[in-house]
Symmetry: C2
Subunit: 453 residues, 2 copies
């Protein structure tokens, strides 16, 4: 019987693992460590503290520190785990006093990820930030009061959500994206182009296919030097401060050191029980790697939804239970200037990487029947395996009901439906809500004809 | 080989059957009859012509009459089929000239439904209407300009949507519902009570558990006499005009006459090919009866979504194809004063009638994470078979994203998922969209614990 679970990290993954372990097992000792001085807070909510759509920083804290004691979970906040001796099953940590030691039977890595350091000159100045921690968000909110211009390096989800927030607060915002389009980890180029046009129409400046080369200035930024990768033209963009959002890398050093296997995505390799190659050592959330749902090939998660689902599995199993994680579909959504962007399963690019030939159903539809005033345009694509017609992905962009429609596709992927099944889907219908044949169904129809189903 | 398809009725079902038959078979002769002078229009859109959310009556016409000729479909509008001689396979119709005759090989009944006549005195006056036809909607829109008060008898979907429209146009509206709650064909009492409170807060008067006894007045209404079924109290409600929306009955007289079997729901009995007991005689839409998805017991459709899906199957099969209709889940939605009301599969009452013992997962959740400003409350229930844990129904009420969430449940029912499958659903998540554990997942969690899954 497990007597003591140690959890390294108290983000969404770590905190959920602790809670679920306690729910499952009332007597096991549980200790959780967090190098940040905070208890679990919503990382995805950080950009909205800047725009004001989250009222106070404290609102993001989902687990008030006092609650841990009530759950008989020993929480060490602002404490860094410096070493682990897995032979003797001991954790060495510092922060309260030096070199404290704790014994464990079961260990959960929920160490998350940190911002990757991009090869850009001059990043060692003041007023250059990431947007990954509550302290980052506090610093950025303070900047909004005094700065006029900001350059956001990286047009992924975090970069774009931050850019929207700064724009809403009245700053002059430029997003610099190295790749030909923003959000390419999430959607295909055609969808990304729609999003870019929409954001630009709302006043955001976006430079795609552009490399940030250097942040100029003395102790703080004056400008960012960027180069267009096609034309080789170099320009300087004024910036009172800079946000770097060029992606993250999983934190795996401690795990690696004790012999935990790191997978091809650079995350900690886990099985369907969220266990690593070492018995009773688990990993979950952004530091981990699991399996893509359809192909069962290695895939990183990097999403809050996955973190809490994997953490539940890790926490229960560590506490003596036996549950499994079904694999990663990777449903991603965001909303930028009122436009919903949604993607699940494979993008076209991912399908190539995972070597799954696909057939597409592309549709330009409406969220409501054409005769009803006020419906919005909806652009969507659904993807099916060429081999067996199974649904493997989909993307939607529209000013309403794009994200919620995505949920149908995600459940469909999880239930192994094919194009015929989606065509037979009995979507809800009412003039004020949706048309008789939902665009999802129409896209399935287009694909099943191409698939000759 | 079929040479001539005759279709009786040109609503959503008839028109779709004709179009799909033509798509499938370019040479077969197709004749379609409609007793109304119009071609296919959206019946569900009618209330919105009154409120102005549909701009013009013509916008509702989905199939302009001229298009039939282009598709080589012989459309007879404003023409009544008076008799059918199925032995010699001849249709007798009138309207253009007397007693015309047409031969057919395949016959499709898409005769729809008509308003049931409730046992209320004084319904033979002017200014008493149904809301089922384009002419009804035109007459009601004309009333809005001159009337001040209206009583809507019947608080089902049509009655409530009409009531909302009149209220939006400034009329004093009272809904009289015989049953203890409105919308009981769609949702359970607890959900209906939420809707009633919401509509009343917006100024609508609703009398539930109340029998309309008589419409008083000379040649047009002065008032409606109603009696509370509990207290027996009788009151009179002033009404310049009256709408009767107490339900419909399928039109089956011609079908019945030629020996087509009528089912226990009083609709034309059909199999999974939408064929009746007579070879090459089909039925679809509101006049028909098919099978409930889970139990495979007889069920009436009465929804536009089902009409077009059944009609596609009937049309293709009549034209020589072989496709099937998967059965009726019955996903129903509407929006009243900004509140979305959504129901799929069984209600609690239906589950009893279909003899399926159920276990519930009830949740009061939010459409967005609690820290994000502007999310709305969402009340929802999901139902599972007590015997095997399979999802068999669900209901949601909320001011946003209730209907689109319903789609997940409907697909889930169609894919035979159980409470564990829904708990494993990887819903999309972003602060501006939805929380990490969607209320749908939370409700599945509540139920699977009760089911001991």
């Amino acid at each position: 019987m497990v007597e003591h679970i140690a959890i390294v990290g108290c983000g969404a993954a770590g905190a959920t693992a602790a809670l679920q372990a306690r729910k499952f097992n009332r007597t096991v000792e549980i200790t959780i460590f967090n190098s940040e001085p905070y208890s679990q807070y919503s990382r995805c909510g950080l950009p909205y503290t800047i725009s004001g759509k989250v009222g106070k920083f404290e609102d993001l804290v989902l687990m008030p520190p006092d609650n841990w004691a009530a759950l008989k979970i020993d929480a060490h906040l602002g404490v860094t785990v410096t070493d682990i001796d897995h032979k003797s099953k001991k954790i060495i940590y510092t922060g309260e006093s030096e070199g404290e030691v704790l014994s464990y039977d079961a260990l959960i890595f929920a160490t998350g990820a940190v911002n990757a350091a991009p090869p850009i000159k001059g990043l060692d100045k003041r007023r250059i930030y990431g947007l990954r921690t509550l302290d980052d968000a506090k610093a950025l909110s303070a900047e909004v009061g005094k700065a006029k211009t900001v350059v956001v390096i990286g047009g992924g989800l975090v970069g774009m959500e931050a850019a929207e927030a700064f724009h809403e607060r009245g700053l002059d915002v430029t997003v610099v994206e190295f790749l030909p389009h923003i959000l390419l980890a999430m959607v295909d180029s055609d969808m990304a182009a729609i999003v870019e046009e929409h954001c630009e129409k709302h006043g955001l400046k976006i430079l795609t296919n552009t490399a940030a080369q250097e942040v100029k200035g003395d102790d703080s930024p004056d400008s960012v030097v960027v180069q267009n990768r096609d034309t080789q033209d170099v320009i300087e963009i004024a910036a009172d401060f800079v946000v770097v959002a060029t992606g993250v890398r999983p934190v795996t050093d401690l795990a690696s050191k004790i012999g935990v296997e790191i997978g091809p995505t650079k995350g900690i390799k886990t099985d369907e029980r969220m266990m690593t190659n070492l018995n009773q050592v688990y990993a979950c959330g952004d530091c981990s790697e699991n399996l893509e749902f359809t192909t069962r090939k290695p895939m990183a998660g990097g999403l809050g939804t996955l973190a809490v689902r994997q953490a539940r599995v890790a926490g229960i199993n560590a506490a003596g239970g036996s549950v499994t994680f079904p694999g990663i579909v990777s449903a991603k959504v965001t909303k930028l200037f009122g436009l919903e962007i949604a993607s699940t399963g494979f993008t076209e690019d991912m399908a190539k990487r995972f070597e799954v030939p696909i057939v597409k159903g592309s549709v330009k539809g409406g969220t409501k029947p054409p005769y009803y005033i006020g419906g919005k345009e909806l652009k969507l694509k659904t993807f099916y395996s060429k081999d067996n017609g199974k649904l493997v992905g989909g993307q939607l962009v529209g000013e309403e009901d794009a994200a919620m429609r995505l949920n149908v596709l995600t459940l469909g992927i999880q239930q192994n439906i094919n194009a015929n099944d989606l065509f037979d889907f009995e979507n809800c219908y009412a003039p004020a809500i949706c048309d008789t044949w939902d665009p999802l169904v129409t896209s399935a129809d287009a694909a099943r004809k191409r698939l000759k189903m």
